[in-house]
């Protein structure tokens, strides 16, 4: 079975064999039927011919005997002295007619005297003829050979009988001789029937065939079963049959045979019950019936023999066909097998596996040729692929390196400031490709100032990563210098926008956190605003005036915003890779979701928040391909418990108002109007407000005029705190370090030309302000002016004006 499934050749051969077998079967069946019919016809013809010829033969002999005896009788009737010449007549007749075995002339008894009777006999004994004369033939007159012709007065064939003398079956023809109308004598001739037996035995009847000869009374004269001869008749035989129907049938057959007409019939032989054909014909002279029995089995045997030969020939043919089919199948499958083997080896990379030789141009040949071509193409393809793959691998390796480098650009060591309990910061960057365009950055600019930034370069991949590297590095270095997010962004924008042929840009957020005060100074260049969490308030978006993306437009300006963070406040910076992360149905993660997550995790550590968001995004994506870099940065601000506040409440509270000025004198009216506005809001007296304004102006002009060693733009931040008791203003600049409080008192009496620069201004500030302090933080000068509300009213009122 497995061979059948495995071998095409065997299947093909089997299919052919089955087909041919069916055809052979059909042919054999057809030939069986037609042969049977033919043989039946032949049997009938043969049976008819045989009975006819046998009957003719018997008839000719018996006819000859009849004629001889008749002639002898006629001759005897004419003999004047018949009795004396009877023996001569017998002798000469027997000599001339060798068919006759014996002959008798019996004188009919005349009158009552039997002594007058005579009987002359002659019989053939070896080559001689014996003669005999009987004077008292009384017994013989009672025999049929005399009795029948005597009373029937016509020639008659007796029933056959066994002759003891010759131990042979004999039959006698008896002719009555009349003289003057009186029965005078009977002349008989005997012939042996042995020759009939021989003749019937020699009939070519085939196996099982039988010839039988019946007397006119149905007695078996000749039968293959010798015991039946002369003992049985058809009717006695019928009587001995067990089955009544067989008995009736045989009786019926006997009657039909004895009717005198030739015929044929199909019947079952009485003893073996085998079907057979019977042909019969009557011998005219004696009324005997010759029957020829040919068993149907003979036909079957012949048919079977022929069919067997046919079948044998067919089988041999089929075997040859099978062999041929197998050969054909193998010739087809051998190259296929070789091809399969070669294909296996090919699959394992062995291109030298031998292929079968192309010997023909048939389908297998074509397949072989195609296979060869395929191998060549494959070899070429693989070699090309190898080259390409090598190149790709190189690129991939380079990309991997680039990724490492890129990831190396951003600080990756967490916690970054393990020694600082007031800072909890964590960040994460997951590029969508090998290299990404996102970045985050943070650094302590000095002990009290933390720089944080996040950015997203337009586009992705290598170009984005390059720009990201540039942007990130640039922003950090600028921040380190200018320490003002808005100005830093302005500078970076100008730097990037210059020769920006690739029209790429960066959205970014940049902030600087005063770790001492919690003041966050920040600016946004088209980036998603960060979230502010904790500190007892709900999570909120840290709004900032939007600015254009970096590198998009040269000369763009950004505004700094300030926000004082409370203890435990947390900032979460992120890129649009978070909010625009898509699930398989292209649904965005969304800001709302981010907010929701942030709100539930306000109290957790920065790392947990980052990871929670990342996890949520990953869950949302549900296996969908990451389309954009995901970048997160969280920082929690905590007030260092050991830190001494410089300005009391103002250090912790966020300022009531913030103003950022550029280091240009043109900015002064803005300052003036802002101070006026704030003073009015705080309910400051106009004198105190004017003093404050003058003091601030004095100091800001001082910064603008002398504070910087360059002509670049710098931001000067002015922050205001006010309550019912006190008003406090901080001025912060990134100019050269200068502590005004360290200047000596102004000699107001000295000549003007001998006085120090700014000396009067500082003096004025000291005079009008309740508090005047300076500190240097993160390379920045911070000067704090404060006014007691009630004093300010009095002190401010007493101002120099």
């Amino acid at each position: 079975m497995s061979l059948l499934k495995r071998s095409l050749a065997v299947r093909l051969a089997l299919l052919i064999a089955v087909g041919a077998g069916l055809v052979l079967l059909a042919v054999l069946s057809f030939s069986h039927i037609s042969l049977s019919r033919l043989f039946v016809r032949q049997v009938h013809q043969r049976g008819d011919a045989l009975t006819r010829s046998a009957v003719n033969l018997i008839e000719s002999r018996m006819g000859r005997a009849e004629a001889t005896i008749r002639e002898a009788a006629a001759a005897f009737a004419l003999l004047s002295e018949g009795r004396n010449r009877a023996q001569e007549l017998i002798c000469s007749t027997l000599e001339n007619h060798t068919d006759l075995c014996g002959m008798t002339i019996a004188m009919a008894p005349v009158g009552a005297s039997p002594s007058d009777s005579r009987m002359y006999s002659g019989w053939r004994k070896d080559a001689d003829i014996s003669l005999k004369q009987d004077h008292l033939p009384e017994n013989n007159y009672q025999q049929d050979w005399f009795y029948l012709p005597y009373y029937l007065q016509r020639p008659v064939w007796t029933e056959p009988y066994y002759d003891d003398k010759t131990d042979a079956l004999m039959v006698t023809y008896a002719v009555p001789v009349l003289r003057h109308g009186q029965m005078w004598a009977v002349v008989t001739g005997d012939i042996s029937l042995e020759w009939i037996r021989h003749m019937l035995n020699d009939l070519p009847l085939g196996p099982g065939g039988q010839a039988i000869l019946l007397s006119r009374r149905g007695r078996y004269i000749s039968h293959p079963v010798r015991d039946l001869e002369m003992r049985e008749t058809v009717f006695s035989l019928a009587e001995s049959l067990a089955k009544p129907e067989a008995r009736t049938s045989l009786v019926d057959i006997g009657h039909r045979m004895l009717e005198g007409q030739p015929g044929q019939l199909s019947y079952r032989r009485p003893f073996d019950d085998q079907p057979a054909f019977l042909h019969y014909r009557t011998v005219p002279s004696s009324g005997w019936v010759l029957g020829v029995v040919i068993p149907e089995q003979q036909i079957h045997t012949s048919t079977l023999r022929l069919n067997r030969i046919n079948g044998l020939v067919g089988l041999v043919g089929m075997s040859l066909l099978l062999l041929a089919a197998l050969g054909l199948g193998w010739s087809v499958t051998r190259p296929l097998k070789k091809l399969a083997k070669a294909a296996d080896r090919l699959a394992q990379g062995d291109f030298d596996a031998p292929l079968p030789a192309i010997r023909s141009h048939d389908e297998v040949g074509c397949l072989n040729a195609s296979f060869r071509r395929m191998r060549v193409d494959l070899q070429r393809y693989i070699s090309e692929l190898t080259t390409t793959t090598a190149a790709k691998e190189k690129i991939a390796s380079e990309l991997a390196i680039a990724r490492d480098i890129q990831l190396g650009i951003v600080p990756k060591l967490f916690p970054p400031f393990p020694n600082r309990s007031d800072l909890d910061l964590h960040a994460m960057l997951i590029p969508a490709r090998e290299v990404g365009g996102d970045f985050y950055d943070f650094a302590l600019l000095d002990e009290n100032h933390l720089y944080i930034a996040i950015g997203d370069v337009s586009g992705k991949g290598v170009p984005a990563s390059l720009l990201m590297a540039v942007g990130k590095t640039l922003l950090k270095s600028v921040m380190q210098t200018v320490r003002d997010p808005a100005r830093a962004l302005c500078q970076v924008n100008d730097e990037l926008a210059e020769d920006n042929d690739s029209c790429m840009f960066i959205t970014g957020f940049c902030g600087m956190l005063n770790l001492r005060t919690g003041d966050l100074l920040y600016a946004n260049a088209g980036h998603n605003p960060p979230l502010l969490l904790g500190g007892g308030h709900d999570a909120q978006i840290l709004e900032a005036p939007p600015g254009p993306a970096l590198g998009a437009l040269p000369g763009s300006c950004y505004a700094s915003c300030s926000r004082r963070l409370a203890n435990d406040d947390m900032l979460l910076l992120y890129t649009d890779g978070v909010t625009e992360a898509m699930d398989p149905d292209q649904k965005l993660f969304g800001e709302a979701r981010l907010l929701q997550i942030a709100r539930t995790r306000e109290e957790v550590a920065a790392r947990s928040l980052v990871e929670a968001v990342e996890h949520a995004v990953r869950l949302h994506a549900a296996g969908a391909e990451q389309s954009d870099d995901i970048t997160l940065l969280a920082v929690r601000y905590r007030i260092d418990p050991g830190q001494v506040l410089v300005a009391g409440k103002g250090d912790t509270d966020p300022p009531c108002a913030v103003l950022t000025l550029l280091n240009r004198l043109q900015e002064l009216p803005r300052l003036t109007s802002w101070v006026e506005k704030q003073a009015q809001a705080c309910g400051l007296s106009s004198r105190a407000a004017m003093n404050l304004n003058l003091a601030l102006e004095e100091w800001v002009v001082n910064i603008i005029s002398y504070g910087y060693g360059d002509d670049h733009e710098h931001a000067i931040n002015v922050r205001l705190w006010a309550d019912s008791q006190k008003l406090q203003i901080e001025v912060e600049d990134d100019g050269l370090p200068f502590d005004p409080t360290a200047q000596g008192a102004v000699d107001t009496d000295a000549a003007l030309e001998h006085r120090q620069i700014g000396g009067l201004g500082i003096h004025f500030i000291r005079k009008t302000m309740n508090g005047f302090s300076y500190r240097r933080e993160n390379d920045r000068n911070i000067v704090t002016l404060s006014l007691q509300m009630h004093e300010s009213r009095s002190k401010g009122d007493e101002g120099p004006c």
Binding site: S121, N139, Q143, V234, S236
Partner: protein
């Protein structure tokens, strides 16, 4: 043709005679077994089945008898064998036996076996072809050729014709029915157990025939009986008795074991190469037994000849001139042999 057969049979007879002389009753008187010979009235056939079975089953031997059975036939003259004391017992028909007494052979009847006659006259229903006149009654045979056996077989038929007032043209009938079968005669005589069945076996169907059963039409002569010479009976009554009893036992056995009997009969047939067959012998056995053993409604006794039958037979023979003075029943019939 027949010379050879006849001469050979004579040789056999001579041999039997010689053997009979060697084992003669002289020795039997003092020896344990008595050798004796039975001659039948015809060829071996079922007609004599009882004798065969008595021999075959050892009834004779058990009776201290060493019995030789000689066949009869056209070539055997039983009367001569009996007269010449070459045979001790013979089977014969009652008329034949009575006629033998006339010729000086004083036979006595030891057992009457066939009490019911088997004589039949069969006629072609249409002797002259299908268009000719039909033979349905005995009177229809008037003027027609009828073959009848010769001699003592003739008596019942003559009695029948006379009884029915028929005057057919009687032709002699010998050993075959060939003249009748050749339609050379309109009717012929047959024995119920033998020739009638032969006709059927020659393809004649019963429908073609009109059959007259003589025993039903006024002529019922007893047939086969067992006889011995009167002096044998006087000198060796004991042997006779033993022989008769064993014979009757043989017949009873034959009646009760027909298949076995038939086998034995066929053995005789085959040994003698007789031209007959088993179905014919079966028919004969059945028919002869019917005429030996009375049916319930039949009056005779097995083995016994009644005085009435004896008288009827003697009267008929006397009337036909076949015997002169019939013997006295007591002189002729020795039924005590069976006792």
């Amino acid at each position: 043709m027949f010379w050879g057969a006849v001469s050979r049979r004579w040789v056999l007879v001579v041999w039997v005679f010689l053997s009979a002389a060697v084992f003669n009753p002289a020795g039997a008187a003092e020896g344990k077994t008595d050798a004796l010979t039975l001659v039948l009235q015809w060829n071996h056939q079922s007609q004599f089945a009882g004798y065969y079975m008595a021999l075959e089953k050892g009834f004779y031997k058990d009776a201290g008898l060493d019995v030789t059975i000689l066949r009869g036939g056209s070539d055997v003259r039983a009367d001569r064998l009996m007269a010449q004391r070459r045979a001790d017992f013979c089977s014969a028909m009652l008329p034949t036996a009575l006629e033998m007494r006339k010729t000086g052979l004083p036979l006595v009847l030891l057992a009457q076996l066939v009490n019911r006659s088997n004589f039949q006259l069969v006629a072609w229903k249409r002797p002259e072809g299908s268009d000719g006149p039909a033979v349905l009654e005995p009177s229809d045979l008037d003027g027609l050729r009828v073959t009848v056996w010769e001699k003592n077989f003739r008596s019942p038929y003559l009695s029948f014709f006379r009884g029915w007032g028929v005057r057919p043209a009687i032709l002699p009938q010998y050993y075959t029915l060939s003249l009748f079968l050749h339609r050379g005669a309109a009717a012929c005589s047959v024995m119920r157990y033998n020739e009638y069945h032969t006709l059927l076996q020659n393809g004649v169907s019963p429908e073609e025939l009109t059959v007259f059963n003589l025993w039903e039409m006024g002529v019922n002569l007893p047939e086969d009986g067992l006889y011995c010479r009167a002096d044998t009976w006087q000198q060796r009554p004991d042997v006779c008795r033993r022989f008769v009893r064993a014979t009757l036992a043989g017949w009873r056995y034959a009646r009760d074991h027909r298949k076995e009997t038939l086998d034995v009969v066929m053995g005789y047939i085959h040994r003698e190469k007789l031209p007959t067959n088993r179905p014919h012998m079966a028919w004969m056995l059945d028919e002869i037994l019917k005429s030996i053993f009375p049916a319930k409604d039949e009056a005779w006794t097995f083995g016994v000849l009644s005085r009435q039958s004896f008288r009827a037979t003697t009267q008929l023979l006397q009337h036909q001139g076949r015997i002169d003075t019939p013997p006295a029943y007591e002189d002729f019939v020795k039924m005590e042999a069976a006792q």
